[in-house]
Symmetry: C2
Subunit: 203 residues, 2 copies
């Protein structure tokens, strides 16, 4: 792949996959940490938003827009938070339809406890400058390490990969089976970085 015709070129597909993958990891981390307080990811997002919102924006309608939900979903989610004591409802004096949602002390305690998660803070240390993809790639690798996830790298970059001599096929050093060219560019759950030829991000 050519680096770019443009200086600010962004590899969109790669960037998208990275963002999606990081999103998943953060979400599952959030599920774990939120679970300690009986909270779902969406509930945490709503709580975090309301903790930052001004008096024109601490309403179900705002949460709906901000999180990109339907108002039914938002309404439900907020009810759970009220039941659990992390939010308090107040009705507007001027407009009888409006509701204001205030984060309680308990709510703020939870937010302080879980945001951002420890694994993220550690993972940030290993991130360098450079193009967006590179930084995201660093971040992903660091997060995977933090959460003890397998890297799922590309077969060809694995330390078990044995390149075939011209004409003959490649081989996996772990299973000792032959690998077709096409297969060598796929993801493998047994992947381990070949630190010599394809260095994993530092730190």
């Amino acid at each position: 792949m050519v680096f770019s015709r443009y200086y600010f070129f962004v590899d969109q597909r790669r960037t998208y996959e990275l963002l999606e993958r990081i999103g998943s990891l953060l979400r599952s981390e959030e599920r774990r940490s939120g679970g300690r307080h009986g909270l779902q990811p969406t509930q945490i997002h709503a709580l975090a938003f309301l903790d930052q919102a001004n008096r024109y924006s601490d309403s179900p309608a705002s949460v709906t827009e901000y999180l990109g939900l339907t108002k039914g979903t938002a309404s439900q989610t907020l009810q759970r938070l009220v039941e659990k004591g992390f939010l308090r409802q107040e009705s507007d004096r001027k407009d009888g339809r409006r509701v204001h949602l205030k984060v309680t002390a308990a709510g703020r305690r939870v937010l302080r406890d879980i945001r951002p998660p420890d694994s993220f803070e550690k993972a940030c240390q290993g991130v360098g400058t450079g193009p967006l993809e590179a930084s995201l790639s660093d971040l992903l690798t660091a997060l995977q390490r933090e959460q003890k996830q397998k890297p799922f790298g590309i077969c060809r970059t694995c330390r078990h990969f044995r390149r075939g001599a011209r004409g003959s096929s490649h081989q996996c050093g772990l299973t000792l089976e032959p690998l077709r060219e096409e297969e060598s560019s796929r993801l493998c759950r047994e992947h381990e970085w070949d630190t010599e030829r394809h260095p994993a991000p530092r730190r």
Copy 2:
């Protein structure tokens, strides 16, 4: 805020919020586009992974690890994909327990259709180089514009914000109500960028 004592400094809290927010937007976009084919975000992720996985990794166990689910969830999700005709199950010849999941032609068609989403591709155009946070911030703003979302910016940076003379309080030019200092740094759903003092990312 000081830029940093370190050259590679990353504002972790800000970066976390950006990633979370971008993650939400991509997820809801995914929900929309996937909905056209009757697919949930998680189902799409599983399908996309299997489309990239090699023959050691095209199993429920791999999907479980890769997406950070429990094996029950993964099993269910994969069943839906099989029912809908986007995956085909094959049992392993050597190991009777193992199952291989192959993406069907219909599955590949769906992936080509929805990944990455158009709004993401457009949003990428406006992203510059620079530190991770800056790029992510650009990306978020562009995505919000693409999806016609409100920016939910900080009150103080809004074109309706009127700074109070020393001693007197600030004011919102839209509601004409006074704003306390503390409130001027919160998020507002009516926010519109003041392009002179606080330029929104270009494009």
